[in-house]
């Protein structure tokens, strides 16, 4: 009998998810032994045409990382959806939009102006912008058009499972692959990680006071960070309590606050809103003015609480800059 076919694909991602697969290290050999990698652009030379040639549901599972930002990416994931029995959204970008999703704070045109005009070292007196099609002497060159709004994978195609993390922790990847190969799968739509918040696996949990309340929020560089004490208790915006566990609290171990790449737990609909609710509850003041003052050190609410999940949030993107948005 032939080995199950597996595909890996990247959309709007940084390649870190591929690296994460490479970081399976020796384990990758077991995986390779157990499956046929039918498609993996970063490492193998198979092309889209190879995929098109496949019968439907030919691949047992396709792991897709990255957010969706152009029609090519959409077409490709739709194709892969057809060819795969299971589609797994691999990593924060595919699951929640990820850091590229922060682009949803702006219009595409803002981006173009910044990158091709405003940036300090750009020399562009002709105000030249990349164009979908350019006529050069020899012919016509085309570029794909980027969308204004970055999307999560499941906003474009049906997704069976999610592997959270930026990138997904190696052990979660192996567990997931294992479960899939063994056919031991949870309910469709499940997130293949423990449904409990990070504090549960954080070595510093016991150092967190039972009744924590904060008079001031600190930015990581402003203080000598105590390597033992709960970071939130030190006034740092550690989002571990709002964030799904599974990474072993890697950032906290490096003495830095959790920024939430693993996304929320199952019960939570909107990561940022929930974070706000939890964090604000800890403010040690009932006076509106003082509350405002305390909040001034939360300098970037959107970027902080939606660092990885803006496209997946209930608002999806900055409102005034959405096409109709802002038009009064």
């Amino acid at each position: 009998m032939s080995k199950p076919k597996v595909g890996f694909y990247w959309c709007a991602s940084c390649g870190g998810c591929e690296e994460a697969v490479v970081d399976l290290a020796e384990k990758i050999l077991d995986v390779v032994a157990a499956v046929d990698i039918a498609f993996w652009p970063v490492a193998l030379d198979f092309k889209r045409s190879d995929v098109e040639a496949m019968p439907d549901d030919n691949m047992a599972v396709c792991f897709i990382n990255g957010a969706i930002r152009s029609s090519e990416q959409q077409e490709m994931v739709e194709l892969l959806r057809e060819k795969s029995q299971l589609v797994v959204a691999f990593g924060s970008c595919a699951q929640l939009g990820g850091i590229p999703g922060l682009a949803n704070m702006f219009r595409r045109q803002d981006m173009f102006n910044e990158v091709y005009i405003n940036t300090a070292s750009t020399v562009n007196d002709g105000k030249v912008f990349p164009a979908v099609s350019t006529n050069v002497d020899e012919g016509t060159l085309t570029l794909p058009l980027l969308w204004d709004t970055v999307k999560t994978l499941d906003q474009v195609v049906d997704v069976d499972y999610y592997l959270p993390g930026c990138p997904p922790p190696v052990n979660l990847i192996t567990d997931a692959v294992g479960a899939i190969l063994a056919g031991k799968l949870p309910a469709k739509g499940s997130i293949l990680a423990p449904d409990i918040a990070l504090c549960e696996e954080c070595i510093r949990r016991d150092t967190k006071p039972d009744k924590l309340s904060l008079k001031e929020f600190k930015r990581p560089f402003e203080i000598k960070i105590d390597p033992e004490l709960c970071l939130l208790a030190q006034g740092l915006l550690c989002l571990g309590a709002v964030t799904r566990k599974g990474c072993g609290a890697a950032c906290v171990k490096a003495n830095m606050p959790c920024t939430g790449c693993m996304g929320p737990t199952d019960q939570v609909t909107d990561y940022g809103a929930k974070a706000i609710s939890a964090i604000a509850s800890l403010i040690d003041s009932n006076d509106e003015k003082e509350i405002e003052k305390i909040l001034t050190n939360i300098v970037d609410p959107a970027g902080t609480f939606y660092r990885y999940s803006l496209p997946a949030s209930l608002l999806h993107r900055h409102y005034e800059t959405s096409y109709e948005g802002g038009r009064k």
Binding site: E18, S70, A250
Partner: protein
């Protein structure tokens, strides 16, 4: 007849590229274009974010060289807050950075470019990959490579939090140091790393240099451009990746400029073409003269070959030997053979391993004093490092609260963009004639590209992606007469 060939995407590189080749009526290449079809606009959405978040945000430009962005960003923050990290922090940063260099160079050689040499450019594509390499060099060697990378990345994670997307960089230092009991691990692994570096060079010797056909490739004119070269060097003009001055040499090898990172704006500009999302850096002192090489064109190169050319040697003994052998074999400095990058990369790998060994045993690195708390009001900061794929420049301006008001990023591969474009064009011209195009030839064109280990994830801070490879053949009226799908 006029043909247009599209190689899309170039596989086995981090990121996303697209090559269009136009043939004239005789079926020879008229011009080949490199296109990078995406953009993420980090410069834009950096705005409004607190500066201290940039090391973690910009690392997402590229998951292959996140450490490079993280480090450049952290150094930019030092400059932004005008704060000096304690000596331990500096050394730990450089230690981690060299560890990263080793594993990243290894990744490129064995996983990405390696197949071209080890397995062979014309081998069937199903073998032209890491698995093919394993087949060739033997599963045991393969396992060693894998194990080496694993050990290195575990050490990185130990300090930086995560190997992919580190978190330990702060303005004024780092968030976590090295515990005394862990130092030995670093020493042990560094010893293995040095051996690994030597092994890799030997492998290159045996598999590549001993194969005259490959040497011909490397030295053949189609993979040769006479451009300027840029790289960071220390006080003795020895190559350095973490800090130093930017040294730029002329195509004839003589020093053209030696500047601090802070001076970059005066000398480096970025040119925009409407047919690519990537911007093309050039030397302002010379100016943008289009896609031509030579001393009169502002086009310059970065990355391993460029770094060797821009330096006067390596700061460690074994690497210095390898450096000398490199020029001995390939002729006098500067070497203009693009494909020599793969060899230069292994020379660097060895240097990083030796440097790692030096730093790992340095008593300073176990000091707990790793963070100087910034006190100055932030205004503007510039940070430069050598990423594996070349010089990487971060430049932020902020308001008085340290919120980014503007960010400028000139990223490793991007510095090579213009020269890569030349390589593609030249390689295509050299390899395609009478309109006959086969998979191997296309791959060899890709090799010209892959040699730079270009990371277009970085280069455009773009979203890597995948598109089909199509060879479209057009007649002189631009009608599609033939389409070869690459199978």
């Amino acid at each position: 007849m006029n043909h247009k060939i599209t190689i899309d995407p170039i596989t086995r590189l981090e990121g996303h590229g697209k090559i269009d080749i136009f043939l004239n009526d005789s079926g020879n290449v008229e011009k080949a274009y490199l296109q990078v079809p995406e953009l993420r606009g980090f410069e834009r959405f950096a705005q409004g974010r607190p500066a201290e978040d940039m090391p973690q945000i910009t690392s997402r430009i590229c998951g292959v060289c996140p450490t490079a962005h993280h480090m450049a960003s952290a150094k930019t923050l030092d400059d932004l807050y005008k704060v000096n990290p304690p000596i331990a922090a500096k050394k730990i940063r450089e230690l981690i950075y060299n560890i990263f260099f080793i594993e990243d160079h290894a990744l490129h050689f064995f996983y990405l470019a390696g197949p071209d040499f080890v397995v062979g450019p014309k081998a069937p594509k199903a073998e032209r990959n890491i698995l093919g390499v394993l087949g060739k060099v033997g599963i045991e060697t393969g396992k060693e490579v894998i194990a080496m990378r694993r050990q290195l990345r575990e050490l990185m994670a130990l300090v930086a939090g995560k190997a992919i997307h580190p978190v330990f960089g702060l303005p004024g230092g780092i968030s976590k140091g090295i515990a005394k009991e862990d130092q030995q691990k670093f020493i042990d692994v560094s010893n293995r790393a040095v051996e690994f570096g030597q092994f890799s060079l030997k492998l290159f010797n045996d598999v590549v240099l001993k194969n005259p056909q490959y040497v011909d490739y490397i030295t053949s004119d189609i993979y040769t451009h006479r451009t300027y070269y840029m790289g960071l060097v220390d006080a003795n003009n020895k190559s350095n990746y973490y800090e130093g001055k930017l040294r730029i040499v002329k195509p004839d090898g003589s020093e053209f400029l030696k500047i601090t990172g802070a001076e970059y704006l005066a000398h480096i500009g970025e040119h925009v073409e409407s047919w690519s999302y990537i911007k093309f850096p050039f030397l302002k002192d010379i100016g943008w003269k289009g896609f031509v090489d030579g001393p009169d064109s502002g086009i310059f190169a970065v990355a391993p070959l460029a770094r060797l050319n821009a330096s006067e040697g390596m700061a460690t003994p074994l690497a210095q030997e390898a450096y000398e052998q490199f020029y001995q074999v390939l002729g006098k400095k500067p070497v203009h053979f693009t494909l020599a990058n793969s060899w230069a990369r292994l020379v660097e790998l060895l240097y990083s391993a030796e440097r790692m060994r030096e730093l790992a045993s340095d008593p300073d690195i176990v000091s707990p004093d790793i963070h100087t708390i910034p006190t100055k009001i932030p205004i503007e900061g510039i940070g430069v490092v050598e990423a594996p794929r070349g010089t990487l420049i971060h430049h932020y301006k902020t308001d008085e609260r340290g919120i980014i008001t503007s960010a400028n990023l000139i990223v490793a591969t991007q510095n090579n963009a213009a020269r890569i474009a030349l390589s593609i064009d030249k390689a295509a011209k050299g390899l395609i004639s009478k309109g006959n195009v086969d998979d191997g030839i296309l791959n060899m064109i890709e090799m010209a590209f892959r040699a730079y280990d270009p990371c277009h994830g970085c280069a455009t801070h773009a979203l890597p992606g995948q598109m089909p490879l199509v060879v479209s053949v057009y007649d002189y009226q631009r009608n599609l007469v033939k389409e070869i799908k690459r199978e």
